[in-house]
């Protein structure tokens, strides 16, 4: 009965639900945590308490092993030489494309493009869509967006004379759906959304947002950098044209990311990067581009990193999604509750359905002071504008502290953090 309920929640995870859930994850996550060698360190005699997974996650040993094994055994360039080593490397590299396809529920393997990260993926789309947008046309951008999902659109707007309009937020920090509907009446050409806000952890009702945008024929891009590690992603269910994310935020290595694109529109993107691998034939008079996915993967790709990403997906797949979601939900709720109990704390957009992160300030204290004093106690959190300056302007703050969790986070981390934060408060008074 409880399991059925859990499955229902899993289905509803894109919707906002305001119920209190009394459920403890069934699984013991201790063996998951012990797979992360970096987490056993100490600094100034304090055990490392890593609450900055939203910036980058740690990597399980098996991801490191997979990359080392690649260099030890299969190292060769992909798609090129006729020798066995190269075909082994190519097979391994292309197998990860299938893994990613399954992981995000894409329909075709050609819809999965390896990039260097979310930033590059969004740049590829913004650049690639140049021919789709004319002067005076509208690009809507989520006010929660990371700079990576703002600046490329500004560049596109500057080049084409298109206009950018932010989708405003409500007082609660959620996207203002009424304002969104009003903006959609102006028939935007492109709508750029975040799945989960990196600064506040707010989960957008992404399927609704995309459906509304599609109803006015807008091209949609969803920045999933903060979503993939924490929830089940199905791009067909979201129904967006593009979905971007980074390997390093989902227990994989840095230097690799994914651009998912719906086949037809992906195939029509003007390549941002040109050169080797992406061509079918080259003469000095005329070059014919290769087909997808190679057309959008010019140059030698980050092969070992792709292999590492594949292993990170295998790692995630080994943990029942429902357990992972509950484990993190429980922890985030605990973190929010503990913080709320502190006198003089300000939480920003802290809702029960948030994902992965909580943002706060201590009343009248600079976020940087809080960060430095926590760092003395080996608490790793992020303090600053979180690459979301427009959001900080909307909240009318210069910055804030953000604690974020991952699959290896445990209750002890949060207790450690709370003790340290109370020490900071004592020191500041």
């Amino acid at each position: 009965m409880q399991l059925a309920f859990k499955e229902k929640i899993l289905e509803d995870q894109h919707a906002n639900f305001f119920m209190t859930i009394f459920w403890t994850a069934l699984m013991d996550f201790t063996p998951v945590r012990t797979q992360f060698p970096t987490l056993t360190q100490t600094f100034n005699g304090y055990p490392l308490c890593y609450l900055d997974t939203a910036a980058t996650s740690h990597k399980p040993q098996r991801v490191l092993n997979a990359m080392t094994q690649f260099y030890l055994k299969n190292n060769a360039n992909v798609h090129r030489a006729a020798h066995q080593l190269s075909s082994q490397a190519t097979r391994q590299y292309e197998a990860v494309r299938d893994q990613v396809m399954d992981f995000i529920g894409a329909q075709h393997r050609e819809e999965v493009i390896f990039t260097h990260g979310t930033t590059e993926a969004i740049n590829m789309v913004a650049h690639g869509l140049t021919q789709y947008i004319d002067s005076g046309e509208l690009i809507l951008v989520d006010s929660l967006a990371h700079h990576a999902n703002i600046v490329p659109w500004q560049v596109l707007a500057k080049q084409t004379g298109a206009i950018i309009k932010p989708i405003p937020l409500t007082k609660e920090g959620r996207l203002d759906l009424l304002a969104y509907d009003a903006l959609l009446k102006q028939k935007p050409t492109i709508v750029a959304l975040s799945h989960v806000s990196n600064a506040l952890g707010i989960l957008n009702p992404i399927e609704t947002l995309v459906a509304k945008a599609k109803a006015v024929n807008a091209i949609t891009l969803v920045d999933g950098a903060q979503a993939v590690a924490h929830m089940n992603i199905n791009v067909q269910q979201i129904d967006c044209d593009f979905y971007a994310f980074s390997g390093h935020k989902m227990y994989g290595p840095t230097g690799v990311g994914i651009l998912y694109g719906r086949l037809e529109i992906l195939d029509s993107l003007n390549p941002l990067i040109t050169g080797g691998e992406m061509i079918k034939s080259v003469t000095f008079e005329k070059t014919v581009y290769n087909t997808l996915p190679n057309r959008l993967e010019a140059g030698t790709p980050p092969i070992a990193e792709v292999i590492g990403l594949g292993e990170a997906i295998a790692f995630l797949n080994d943990i029942p999604a429902i357990e992972k979601i509950y484990h993190e939900k429980e922890l985030l709720q605990y973190l929010q509750d503990q913080l709320k109990a502190i006198e003089g704390i300000i939480l920003y957009g802290a809702h029960p359905d948030n994902i992965g992160a909580v943002a706060f300030n201590l009343h009248n204290e600079h976020h940087q002071d809080v960060g430095v004093l926590l760092d003395q106690q080996a608490i790793a959190i992020r303090c600053g504008h979180h690459c979301a300056m427009p959001l900080m302007q909307t909240l009318n703050i210069k910055g804030c502290c953000r604690a974020s969790i991952g699959i290896y986070t445990n209750k002890q981390d949060i207790d450690c953090f709370m003790t340290a934060l109370n020490n900071v408060i004592t020191l500041l008074h």
């Binding site: 100034n44 204290e365 600079h366 940087q368 002071d369 430095v372 004093l373 003395q376 303090c383 600053g384 210069k398 910055g399 020490n423 020191l427 500041l428």
Partner: protein
């Protein structure tokens, strides 16, 4: 600007080092640092200008400079307490010094002695490096009278 304001840090770097050697743990060091910061007069709003702002700090920090004869004097402020404390440490080291003394000052060694060398790593966003750079820039700029 009121010139007397520039003379309000009564400590020198030796006294500062003495203060910090008494601190036995990080809590005491940072408490001391923030107490020192409190001695720094708050710059009035009209002096917290973009021109006086030091670039490269996560917090806002402002720095003013003046010169009497060959001696340089600085005045600064920040909206973060620790940076304010760091500014006091810098003023204690640099105020009343001439250009040669400022250029020769070994700030790495100074912060090492204070037990605050962790604050100095270039990846820190506290702006200590930026502040030192601006202090040295003023000391070496040709001052028009």
């Amino acid at each position: 600007m009121d010139q007397d304001l520039f003379l309000q840090i009564p400590l020198d770097s030796k006294q500062i080092i003495e203060l910090f050697t008494q601190a036995t743990n990080w809590q005491e060091r940072y408490r001391q640092l923030m107490l020192l910061g409190k001695q720094l007069p708050r710059l009035p709003q009209e002096q917290r200008t973009p021109q006086a702002q030091v670039q490269g700090c996560e917090s806002d920090a402002w720095l003013y400079h003046c010169q009497y004869n060959r001696q340089h004097y600085y005045l600064g402020d920040s909206d973060a307490r620790i940076v304010k404390g760091l500014i006091v440490l810098l003023l204690a080291a640099f105020n009343g010094k001439n250009t040669d003394e400022i250029n020769a000052f070994d700030h790495d060694d100074y912060f090492e002695h204070l037990g605050l060398s962790g604050q100095l790593s270039p990846s820190r966003t506290n702006g200590l490096h930026a502040l030192i750079k601006v202090i040295k820039y003023y000391a070496n700029a040709q001052i028009k009278s």
